[in-house]
């Protein structure tokens, strides 16, 4: 595009005039100051009226200022000898929508043996059965002597169990959202983490052997090995986990959570450790050294009730 002669002369005059050049430079400078107004308009588009606004408006506050009472059912995972179903309840007071204090308590109501335990019991019954084929052989007698310190007549009775758990805990709720199922059902959801100390009632095989007054291989009158006695103790361990709550209405929810209770215990009632320098071999007695560190994981499902039943919303 060619400039008209008159306009060309105009720009030439400006270039010849030093003060005009300075003035022109100032104009460009001020003009460039004028540009930010356009950029500001862009910024308004980016942040807009939502600038500084919370991520969620009118959030239904399912937790803040409410008590939660949730009956729970927990099932232990990766058990070697015995599975436990714990029935209990969780009571929380939600100080904020993101923080709750409370306690979870549960009782080991159902204890079922694993396939491995059933096999051990069956094999042991055969070993001590006088009518079995191996009973009178040398191998049969050797087998009985080798297992007598570790496996009693009723194997299930000597297994380590979790009898009850009481766990005061803090619950944090970092994530709050909603879930669409089939694009038809919408459920408020939150994800939470929790942690605290746990007091665990544990039953496990009592100490026996060297240094104690109890023989680990006590026999019954019929030649069978006596059922191993057990004792109860209270273990203190950390507990932590995470879970999801699905709010079915203003005052009830369904929940699923994973919990770990790491502590050491003797799950099988065996003499496994204590001898040699690294104590990795049986030492002929059952003691604390035979406890093995377990993660003790469990999955819990819950039905939560919230009080008061009326629900508040954020701004």
């Amino acid at each position: 595009m060619a400039l008209s002669p008159r306009l060309s002369l105009f720009f030439l005059d400006i270039l010849k005039c030093r003060s005009c050049t300075v003035f022109g430079g100032l104009c460009v400078l001020f003009g460039s100051f004028g540009f930010p107004s356009q950029v500001q308009a862009q910024e308004v588009q980016v942040t807009g009226p939502l600038a500084g606004a919370p991520a969620v408006r009118a959030l239904r506050l399912h937790r803040k200022g409410r008590f939660e009472i949730a009956p729970t059912v927990s099932a232990t995972l990766l058990d070697e000898y015995q599975r436990t179903i714990l029935v209990g309840a969780r009571i929380n007071y939600n100080l904020f929508d993101w923080l709750a204090v409370g306690v979870w308590g549960a009782y080991g109501a159902i204890k079922t043996t694993t396939d491995l335990s059933d096999k051990i019991q069956k094999l042991n019954d055969e070993r001590f059965n006088p009518s079995s084929a191996d009973y009178r052989t040398g191998a049969g007698e050797t087998g009985r002597r080798l297992v007598s310190a570790n496996v009693g007549k009723d194997f299930k009775s000597q297994l380590g169990t979790i009898d009850w758990v009481i766990a005061p805990q803090l619950t944090g709720v970092p994530f709050r959202g909603k879930l669409s199922i089939f694009q038809k059902i919408f459920v408020d959801t939150d994800a939470y983490i929790f942690a605290g100390p746990a007091f665990i009632g544990v039953t496990e095989r009592s100490s026996c052997g060297l240094g104690t007054s109890i023989d680990c291989s006590t026999r019954n009158a019929d030649g069978t090995v006596a059922t191993k006695p057990t004792v109860s103790r209270v273990a203190i361990a950390p507990t932590f986990g995470l879970g999801l709550s699905f709010y079915t209405n203003a005052w009830t929810s369904l929940g699923v959570e994973y919990r770990a209770l790491p502590f050491s215990r003797n799950t099988g009632g065996f003499d496994s450790y204590g001898a040699s320098q690294d104590e990795r071999f049986p030492d002929g007695r059952v003691s604390e050294k035979d406890r093995e560190f377990k993660f003790n994981q469990m999955i819990t499902i819950s039905l939560g009730f919230y009080f008061p039943t009326k629900l508040d919303s954020s701004e």
């Binding site: 107004s37 694009q183 919408f186």
Partner: protein, 330 residues
Amino acid sequence: MNQARAGLLIVMALMVMPAVVGAQGKPRKQAAGAKKRANSQQSSPSSEPSASQTTSTTLTTGTESDKTVVAGSESTDSAESPTEEVKGICEIDPSQCPQVDLDSAAKRAINSPMYAVQQIYALRARRFEINPYWSFTLNDQFVSHPGPGLAANYYLTNVLAIGANFNFYKGLNQDSSFNAQTRRAARIAVPLTEYDWSAALNFTYVPMYGKFAGFQDFIFHYDGYLVGGIGGLANKPIAVIDPDNRSFDSKINVAFNAGLGLRIFFNRWFAATLEVRDYIFIDRLERTTIEPDQQNKELWYGDSKLTNNVQAQLGVSVFLPFSWEYRLPK
């Protein structure tokens, strides 16, 4: 000199102009004002309509920009003499400007479809998903089978995909020390199995979709899916009962799988995944007794058992192509 100063002032004014243009609210206000005036003039029939008023009372059902033009013409008309008046389309051809009762039009029922979830953040339809992951055994306390895996899916629709996955376990199986303890204490041997690899063809269905606000500060999207399929799993027994004589070769078993997963999107093409999947197959275990003919391989095998290998798969997903265009505006 004066000319130059005046020219520079004009240039400066022109530079400031874009800021005014950037504020786009003004034309709307003008249009709204025109509409308001049109309504007020409609409601006062006693006032004698001029040519320009006639134009504004015959508002068309056109776009907002049309209305702006009408408003502009009104202000121009009032400034110019009647002799310079330009005839509007409504004067030239009134049939082009039908009378509309704005109040009744506003009350008209609109049957526009509303979707429960509009413009899903991360569309999956017609996209590939590449999903490398690491798997952990959840239910085998005797031998754990960790290992890397790779899944690839193609989403036929937003909720349905076909794909395949591959798990590699060879050399990574871990025999628990608990096995040796049990053998020593109870004189019982449990048949153990190690896995080499598995592969499957799968369908994936995504019925759940949602979003979370993290710390009331940021929002991320997630979905939940179901997956199932059929394939093969290569495994072999670990010789426990008679390790001096028995050495097993790997065999491929038909394996069904079913699982569910959670996918958390970091952006529209990158996500973290957590999946729990059960690989179900019939496993031939090592025979727990030793037969006289110890070299006969057929006598090395004992019972066949339905086995569930439940594993957690933790990984990331990359969706291709990275971007897309929505069919409908938001």
